[in-house]
């Protein structure tokens, strides 16, 4: 709760800082703000408090996922330096919107009432619509903004219709009360078409937001057109918060209806894994590959959701942390490289190993982590998810996932090959000291998570 209040006031404060002629102060200030929020957030660790007549609950689950999204945003900030150099007039607004959207993310992981889930999703989404279209003169950014906006609000409508049908069937928005009403009538309420339809529509709505197939089609277009900095935010924070909220809804409200939603979700998982990985393998643009890769990671996270036991929470937490860190590193390097070489395809990375050994090394670690190679965080993320699924006897699903992650190795290593085996396609990429510091930090964090996973695997 303190983090919500702080983020909101810091966001407003930041708008006032934007009145100054020079915008050199904004990035360090936002960095400082987020560090304060991160510290204050962990102050809540260990005690469970409810707010607003039990509409929000800050427990360890919420604190852990808030930590992930805030840390992700902190790691993103050093890469925005180009906006300062270009004297972008809207810099303060962008970062205020970023801070406000984090409030939405926190509400999505801490909600106790479907109203708060809806408001949280909307705060996050509406902020992202603005940021997706923030490059006003660029037609691609415009198109991404419009597509994201139309598809996002369409999904919101579907999600709302689902929530209303659930309300009609159970008479409650409180997720614990829904669970009581859904399980009370000895399976009676569960078979009611109203609740089943409500659950289906809610599933569709949330799948849109976390870009799970078959509701993923907006993802590649939007990710490609959005300015890289905000694509990174979109593919990490929105996904982490979305899955945390998704898991909470399923585990609290619809635990009793597992048999009903399991077949739907398992089919969606297989399609998501297939489309994500095979789609990514067919791309020539690195940014578009990362968009498909984010779809495929949604598929892996859905396996943790399907496993649905006491290990799932931890698995989702660990996986989203490992995924977020590696993705921010990859997008950060893409931003540095593409700003200078003006290219978002694999060719932009040609010969990076010779011109910028640091960037190439961090990129390799990030790609290994995303592909799930041992000694990186991504490996243990996948391991935890698969072992949770094994307890639920989902062996065939794990085999599908492992086959798909082998496809993943192909497209993640294309960029590594381009970096080390090809002739350099341009000059040395200029990297600021704060960006290189952040990159080194992310590389170390990824390896620490891969060598000592015990540090974070039993938090929840």
């Amino acid at each position: 709760m303190n983090s919500i209040i702080l983020l909101t006031s810091f966001g407003i404060l930041n708008l006032f800082v934007g009145f100054r002629k020079s915008n050199k102060l904004i990035l360090p200030l936002v960095f400082l703000f987020l560090l304060i929020v991160l510290a204050v957030n962990f102050y809540d660790w260990g005690n469970t408090t409810t707010y607003f007549e039990r509409m929000l609950t800050i427990d360890n689950y919420a604190v852990a996922f808030t930590g992930v999204v805030v840390l992700t945003t902190i790691l993103l900030i050093p890469f925005a330096k180009r906006y300062v150099d270009e004297k972008n007039e809207s810099l303060a607004e962008f970062f205020s919107i970023l801070l406000f959207s984090l409030v939405g993310a926190i509400m999505m992981v801490a909600y106790e009432n479907l109203i708060m889930l809806f408001v949280g999703i909307e705060i996050l989404s509406i902020s992202m619509y603005v940021l997706a279209g923030s490059d006003k003169k660029n037609l691609r950014s415009n198109e991404a903004g419009l597509k994201y906006f139309l598809m996002g609000s369409f999904a919101t409508g579907i999600l709302l219709f689902g929530i209303v049908l659930i309300y009609g069937a159970t008479g409650a928005f409180q997720i614990t009360e829904i669970s009581a009403a859904a399980t009370a009538g000895s399976g009676d309420a569960l078979t009611s078409p109203l609740l089943a339809m409500g659950l289906l529509f809610t599933l569709i709505g949330i799948s849109f937001k976390v870009s799970a197939a078959p509701f993923h089609f907006w993802t590649p277009d939007v990710y490609e057109g959005t300015p890289t900095l905000f694509t990174a935010f979109m593919s990490t924070v929105v996904k982490t918060a979305g899955f945390a909220g998704f898991y909470k809804l399923m585990s609290v409200s619809f635990a009793g209806a597992y048999d009903i939603w399991f077949p739907t979700l398992v089919a969606m998982t297989v399609i998501t894994l297939g489309i994500g990985n095979i789609g990514a393998a067919a791309q020539n643009s690195f940014k578009r590959m990362m968009a498909y890769s984010s779809i495929s990671h949604a598929g892996y996270l859905m396996i943790a959701l399907l496993a649905f036991n006491d290990r799932s929470e931890n698995a989702i937490f660990f996986y989203s942390l490992a995924y977020s860190v590696a993705t921010i590193a990859a997008f950060g390097i893409l931003k540095l490289v593409s700003d200078q070489r003006d290219d978002i395809s694999y060719n932009a990375f040609n010969g990076l190993g010779r011109t910028n050994p640091l960037l190439a090394a961090v990129m390799t670690i990030a790609m290994c982590s995303l592909a799930g190679i041992p000694l990186t965080g991504g490996f243990f993320g996948k391991l935890f998810i698969f072992s949770a699924a094994l307890e639920q006897n989902l062996l065939w699903l794990i085999i599908v996932a492992i086959l798909m992650s082998m496809v993943g190795i192909y497209y993640y290593f294309r960029v590594v090959i381009a970096m080390y085996m090809r002739e350099p396609s341009g000059e040395r990429v200029v990297v600021g000291s704060s960006a290189s510091f952040a990159l080194i930090f992310m590389a170390i964090l990824t390896i620490v998570m891969g060598v000592l996973p015990g540090l974070m695997s039993n938090l929840l």
């Binding site: 509406i126 597509k147 609000s153 219709f161 309300y167 590649p220 277009d221 057109g225």
Partner: protein, 109 residues
Amino acid sequence: MNEIPEVIRTIPLQYYLFFSSTLFVIGIIGVLTRRNAIVIFMCIELMLNAVNLLLTAFSAYRSDANGQVFVFFIMAVAAAEVCVGLAIIVMIYRNLRSTDINILSNLKW
């Protein structure tokens, strides 16, 4: 003069359900078939209004104010969405002199 929830309850609940679902489906069909960004946007608003109507009906039938409170949240959020959405559409109109979404096909694989 009757209380408003009583007036709402003079019509059976199924009728509200059918009516709202129809409105909602019209909205969905509109989103999927129309090609003008503003018309698509109107169809989305139609979907939200179907939701609001159904919420009010359920709320009156259950004598539970929560549903009506949610309607206010939806209206407030929809207003915020309209602001951002129209701004995005205006931005596109300035650049392209059109709001037809078929023109927007730069991003494709």
